[in-house]
């Protein structure tokens, strides 16, 4: 586990640097099982920073969302660095963003935190119901100790941690300038059993499933907005000329939107599960992404977000690529 006082000390030290503009990390949320992401600009604010299993949000999403305001004439653009705290899974987003030239490596200072898993608020709600007080938690290789308003309860890992944590293959950050704690041991593999299980259904069953799921969608675009890989200047989904997807929230347009979103993430999704986490109507968005992730891995032996030197999958070509789809 990371020592929080060391984390704050390090954050203050980084923020004190001349060439650092701001730091993105986590602070205690006002209530419930999720910590709040926070952006701090001054070393004095570092006291608020925390890291525990409630720190589920992926801070890497914010790096590319930073608004580049017009620079008044005669002034220089602020090109100071951004410091960001990341878990293993979050770091894959940074790797993939670097692969896609979203920014230069020296634009960010990555403070890596080895992580043993974070809490799924939906699973927690099933165990604890609605919680209005602040929650903190501790996790080890076997159990999660949840402190709800001073009342500590120990829970089995699989009953409360995010699914991605149960199959996590990258608990340690893959890219960092500094590690804030000792590396942890990997505890799981990923056989894509969930994808196989889903695929085992008949086309009718699958279609019925998605029809129900997509019909719930209110097209708030939270899944897109939170995604660390979705950072086009203008998203094709909201473009009007030409208009690929209409704004109507009917099953047809919703289906197009979700397929388009999944497709745009083929070979890019780093499985942080943020899209599914933020969905207000509980659409299991990752089911689509996971299928693409597995296919990309099996067909092209490619895994996004693990190698800064890699070529983006959809921008590279190998004569040995499978061509089974060509009749």
């Amino acid at each position: 586990m990371v020592d929080e006082s060391k984390l704050r000390e390090k954050a203050a030290e980084v923020l004190a640097r001349e060439d650092v503009r701001r730091l993105i990390g986590w602070k205690r949320g006002t209530y419930g099982f999720e910590a709040a992401p926070c952006v701090i600009k001054d070393a004095s604010e570092a006291e608020a920073l925390i890291f525990d299993p409630t720190c589920v949000q992926n801070p890497a999403s914010f790096i590319t969302l930073e608004e580049k305001k017009p620079v008044p004439r005669g002034q220089e653009a602020d090109t100071r660095k951004i410091a960001v705290m990341v878990k293993g899974c979050d770091s894959r987003a940074i790797v993939q963003q670097l692969v896609e030239k979203a920014y230069d490596r020296d634009h960010v200072i990555v403070l890596g935190i080895p992580c043993l898993g974070v809490i799924d608020r939906r699973k927690a709600a099933a165990l604890f119901g609605d919680v209005a007080s602040q929650v903190s938690a501790k996790v080890d290789a076997e159990k999660v100790a949840v402190d709800v308003g001073g009342d500590v309860k120990t829970v089995d890992r699989k009953d409360i941690l995010m699914d991605k944590c149960l199959r996590c293959r990258y608990p340690n950050p893959l890219v960092y300038d500094e590690l804030l704690a000792d590396e942890v041991e990997k505890w799981a593999g990923d056989e894509f059993a969930d994808v196989g299980e889903f695929e085992g259904q008949s086309p009718e069953e699958k279609w019925a499933f998605w029809e129900e799921q997509f019909s719930k969608c209110i097209r708030c675009y939270s899944c897109r907005n939170v995604c660390p890989m979705c950072y086009c200047v203008e998203c094709v989904v909201t473009k009007l000329q030409p208009q690929w997807t209409r704004r109507a929230t009917d099953i047809s347009e919703n289906t197009v939107y979700h397929i388009q979103r999944a497709w745009h993430l083929a070979g890019r999704c780093i499985e942080c599960m943020e899209c599914q986490r933020v969905c207000p109507v509980d659409i299991p968005i990752m089911t689509l992404n996971r299928k693409l992730t597995r296919d990309v891995k099996e067909m092209f032996e490619y895994e996004p977000g693990v190698d800064v030197e890699a070529q983006p999958l959809l921008a590279s070509y190998n004569p040995q690529d499978p061509e089974d789809f060509i009749m």
């Binding site: 305001k69 896609e100 030239k101 950072y231 200047v233 030409p242 745009h264 921008a315």
Partner: protein, 675 residues
């Protein structure tokens, strides 16, 4: 802007293409349908729209009806888009106001059902009408052509192309990887079917390229990089260090005689059956006649010392030409056109282990046999095998076997194609054996004999009359028996259906031609494509056989596919003339149908740059309200408008002109409506 100010007045022209379209699609009905589509002013049919009267129909209507968009429903735009663009231009309309509906290849040729085909033709025409409304006028630009040509590879193809271009008065840079020009043809002894001495007809040309005032010969050099576009290429050539002063070396050969490794290194030019030293001239007629030190073998260069007294070559060299400190030199050249003439490699027999080439000394490839019978070869042209290292001893073979189609027409090694030269070179070699060893028993094992060229059949007849036995059968195995040189060929005579075992003491494998093993380097440099056989692909198999998909880059010789010498020379002359067209005219039109970037939408991920097969896209800094960001930029002279970039772009920020999403989507909408 005129497309905004003027309402579209569309003319639709439907071609019968003889009976190609007319017999399947109801053309009069299609005309009737098209004439009622919105914006259509006139719709007509004609037997052959591409004919002069057909084109005149369009021109007349542009004048009389004030058409500002033209739709031709006929064949593929690959066939006649240039034709009709010209028609529009001649009638004073921007040529990019043309839209073609392909109702032949994509309709009448593939759909037997007349009704459904007609329905599809209607949809295709309607889609073209919708798109025609959204067409934009585009301007074709012209750029100057640098009057110089880079020829890569100095075999007979490269030599001939260089001489033709140089004789026409243009500069040629002839780059050759090995120390001497000449290529494969220089390795051959006689040429079929005329039995001309290969060296005798080649060496004068080799000398010519070296002496021609317009040719800069860069031997022992390799193309390092090339950038730019048709008419304006910048290339960097690495002149490898010979470790011999090129200007002072007289080619006397005293150095080679004194080399401590003389006669101890296999000579690549002799297909490794002859020997050379670490300092060498690959063959006596080599051009330039300058010695070269092999940096991988020379003791001084690899170990830093050579004998007690230092390098003997340097001590022996009269003019003091040997320079162990020499370094590679990078030369930058500017050229307008490129001819790729990189040639071939012969089939690697280790991929056919059942023929025992690796293990059995007297099983050799056709090319090795050429060196064996060549007067300049290691045995001075005597067919003698099994000599020791000093070149003594050995025996004359009594029974010689030739085997056809080794590595050609053979799916098991991945080469389905016919190499086109093996039938005849084996016949020639059989003749040479008969000539040199009148008493030898000669058998040729063949699948078919393809004697298709001028004088080939006559020559094949002659060889048979000389007592060369042709046995139809593809050997299954070649192995050695006992102590002597006897090699057994297991084969079934497929004409009589009898299995036989032929004993020989020399077996020549008629190895096929394959793409160069290092072909990838050239592909990466020029972004060339390959056909399924691995050879470079021409732009069109019938009508553009020397062009490539990269403008200004032409192909000559066996790099494009197996060829004999006359075909190679003919293609070299074709490539030279293609290159000369550009250089003589001095200007070249660049594609107007290029991709355009919307820099405000571009996120600078570079996917488009990575997938561009022409290297036409780069990322450049853009000032976005005071913030510097990277965005894609298209080099319009390099772009071919293929649209790969648009497919890769996630935000739709790059689009090929005339195929923009907003132009295609309405088409899809029309085509997608249910019947």
């Amino acid at each position: 802007m005129d497309n905004l100010n003027r309402r579209p007045r569309i003319g639709v022209y439907i071609c019968h293409c003889g009976i190609n379209i007319g017999s399947v699609v109801d053309v009069p009905g299609l005309v009737e349908y098209a004439s009622r589509l919105p914006g259509v002013v006139v719709a007509r049919e004609y037997t052959y729209m591409c004919s002069d009267p057909g084109q005149n129909l369009v021109k007349e209507d542009i004048k009389n009806e004030g058409l500002n968009r033209v739709i031709v429903a006929s064949c593929s735009p690959r066939m006649h888009e240039p034709t009709f663009r010209k028609t529009l231009k001649e009638a004073g309309l921007n040529p990019y106001y043309l839209e073609m509906a392909n109702i032949r290849e994509q309709c009448s040729w593939v759909h037997p059902d007349k009704e459904q085909a007609t329905h599809k033709a209607r949809k295709l025409v309607e889609a073209a009408v919708v798109k025609a409304m959204l067409l934009e006028a585009l301007e074709e630009k012209e750029v100057d052509v640098i009057p110089a040509c880079l020829v890569i590879g100095a075999g007979i193809a490269g030599i001939q192309a260089s001489l033709d271009i140089a004789d026409a008065g243009f500069k040629v840079y002839l780059v050759e990887k090995t120390p001497s020009v000449g290529g494969r043809m220089a390795q051959l002894d006689k040429t079929f079917p005329t039995l001309d001495c290969s060296a005798c007809i080649l060496t004068p040309k080799m000398v010519d390229v070296a002496n021609h005032p317009n040719i800069e010969l860069m031997s022992y050099s390799q193309l390092e990089s090339i950038e730019g576009y048709v008419g304006n290429f910048k290339a960097t050539v690495r002149k490898k260090a010979r470790f011999v002063n090129f200007n002072t070396c007289t080619g006397c050969g005293v150095c080679a005689e004194n080399c401590r490794l003389a006669g101890r290194i296999p000579n690549e030019f002799d297909e490794n059956i002859g020997m050379r030293g670490a300092i060498y001239l690959p063959f006596p007629q080599a051009v330039p006649a300058k010695y070269t030190i092999d940096p991988e073998r020379c003791l001084q260069l690899t170990k830093g010392k050579c004998g007690k007294e230092g390098p003997a070559c340097a001590a022996a060299c009269g003019p003091g030409s040997i320079d162990f400190e020499q370094e590679d030199e990078l030369v930058e050249i500017e050229i307008g056109t490129v001819i790729v003439a990189t040639g071939y490699d012969v089939f690697d027999c280790t991929r056919k282990p059942e023929y025992g080439w690796e293990d059995i000394d007297n099983v050799m490839t056709g090319l090795e046999f050429e060196r064996l019978v060549s007067a300049s070869g290691p045995t001075g042209g005597h067919v003698i095998l099994g000599r020791d290292k000093k070149g003594e001893g050995g025996y004359e073979p009594k029974k010689v076997a030739f085997i056809h189609c080794v590595g050609s027409r053979d799916k098991s090694v991945g080469n389905e194609y016919c190499s086109r030269v093996c039938c005849m070179y084996l016949a020639k070699q059989a003749h040479l054996v008969r000539d040199k060893l009148p008493d030898a028993d000669i058998a040729v094992f063949y699948m078919d004999v393809r004697a298709f060229g001028k004088g080939f059949e006559e020559f094949y007849d002659r060889v048979r009359r000389e007592g060369v036995r042709y046995i139809r059968g593809n050997p299954s195995e070649i192995y050695r028996t006992g102590e002597d040189h006897t090699v057994v060929i297991k084969v079934e005579d497929t004409l009589t259906g009898t299995p036989m075992e032929y004993e020989a003491d020399l077996v020549v494998l008629g190895v096929g031609l394959e793409p160069r093993r290092d072909v990838r380097e050239i592909i990466d440099l020029f972004k060339l494509s390959q056909s399924t056989d691995g050879f470079f692909m021409e732009a069109h198999p019938k009508l553009r056989p020397v062009d490539t998909a990269s403008d200004g880059v032409y192909l000559a010789g066996c790099c494009q596919g197996p060829k004999d010498i006359p075909d190679t020379v003919a293609q070299a002359k074709g490539a030279a003339s293609s290159a000369l067209i550009l250089m003589a005219y001095g200007k070249v039109k660049v594609e107007a149908l290029v991709s355009v970037v919307s820099p405000d939408e571009c996120r600078g991920c570079g996917f488009c740059m990575e997938v561009c097969p022409f290297g036409a896209i780069e990322l450049v800094d853009q000032n976005r309200m005071g913030n510097i960001v990277q965005v894609a930029q298209v080099n319009e002279a390099l772009c071919k408008g293929c649209g790969s970039c648009a497919a890769a772009c996630l935000s739709g920020a790059i689009q090929p002109r005339s195929f923009k999403d907003e132009q295609i989507l309405p088409q899809i909408a029309v085509l997608g409506v249910r019947i």
